[in-house]
Amino acid sequence: MVRFPGSDESLDIEGILLRLDEIDALPDDDVACKAEKLAAEQLKMGEVVLETWLVARNGVPTERLKEGFRLLALHAQGAKGVPSFNACRETCREIVYQYNVVAAAENDGDRVRALRMMIMVVRHLALFVSGKLEVAGLGDFCCASKPLHQTGDTLTSSPGL
């Protein structure tokens, strides 16, 4: 669970999913007024999700930036030694993209649309990482995963083969 800067509120991934639903339920007018603030909040949520992954694996989340965003640096850190974690690489980049679209949008329609897309992408990251944490004890689930038996004998090392 990570506390948001300047806020008394602490959110875990479940809390983030609920907060995303709250933002999604806001009418367009409200979203348009607060779009940049909400986009920043969602970017932070993405960081919190990745921090949760890193902390669960006994890592210390970096404060570095990659291409100007801590989110991308955290993803790169989280994927080290876990190739299947790259399955959320583009999801993180898409969060950054939608964040930039919100900042650069020239009208409320584009701003609201990007903000609502950002909600879905952040939600996807949160679901993906929570799923990864859920099955961590079973080994990497993903198709691009490392083998389950990394230190033991493999079939191809057995005398019969």
């Binding site: 399955a87 898409e94 897309m117 993906f128 993903c142 191809t156």
Partner: protein
Amino acid sequence: MSKKHKEVAYYPGCALEGTAQSYDRSTKAIGKALGLPIKELDNWNCCGAMEVKNIDPKLQTYLSARNLSIAEDMGFDSVMAPCNGCYHNLKKAEYDLEHDASSREITARLSNKAGHRTYKAGKVETIHALDWIKDSVGEEGIKDKVKDGLKGLKIANYYGCMYTRPRHIFPEKDQGPGSESTSKPHYMDDLLDAAGANSVEFPLKTACCGGAHTLSDSDTSTKLVLNILQAAEASGADVIATECPTCHTGLEMHQIRAEKMFGKKTKVKILYFTQLLGLAMGLSPRKVGVHENFSESLPLLREKGLG
């Protein structure tokens, strides 16, 4: 028009003979309609999928290498795999055989024991069904064959996670204009737009569908899929186009499950890109296996004049 990949060996893999029969049917149908002969690999075997790879990645390399050796023996220099999992595994085997001495040694040992020639890297290029169409006929070839076209059907193109990852096993991608992108793939968008579709901006085109979660953690899979379906609808899509049988089946099954378990109904339809290309070329829905999908898309297709 490029002549590249005009004649390819065809590796359907297990999924296209099972849950993804409509992908197999529509791939063969559009090959015929476009004048692109394909020849199925003789006596092919499993690519190693995710199950073998998780237990013993070198064994997966051997299994995929055997398929590549069959293609070579049949006189082909390229093998086309429509399934993202098969495509990924054959590409990975090629990469491992080129870069890892231990993979070469084990593949040679197992090939000798199985009594067939050992495949050497660099002899056969593995391509996806998207590369096959894009390289052989391209957008212009599609436009030439289209009859009524897809009539502005709004499509979210969903590539899944294995078509572009990990980057290093796809050296032909990210090579500048015209090549496929691993961060923002576009081949399916290009081909379907050439067939008259209107591809929408879709922020989750390479996001995880939770396919490998399906049995161990169904609720997470359902939530991931639901989010993809809702994002597609929010993007304005009538249809999600797929090019991976695992993703396709996951989207269909979890669309139903999302309604049952979470009361969340989505209307977006799910079709293989090969089915959509076939329909654009005037093939009947039955000819491209629409009746074999779980997603009931016929009413929409009829409404659009495609059924």
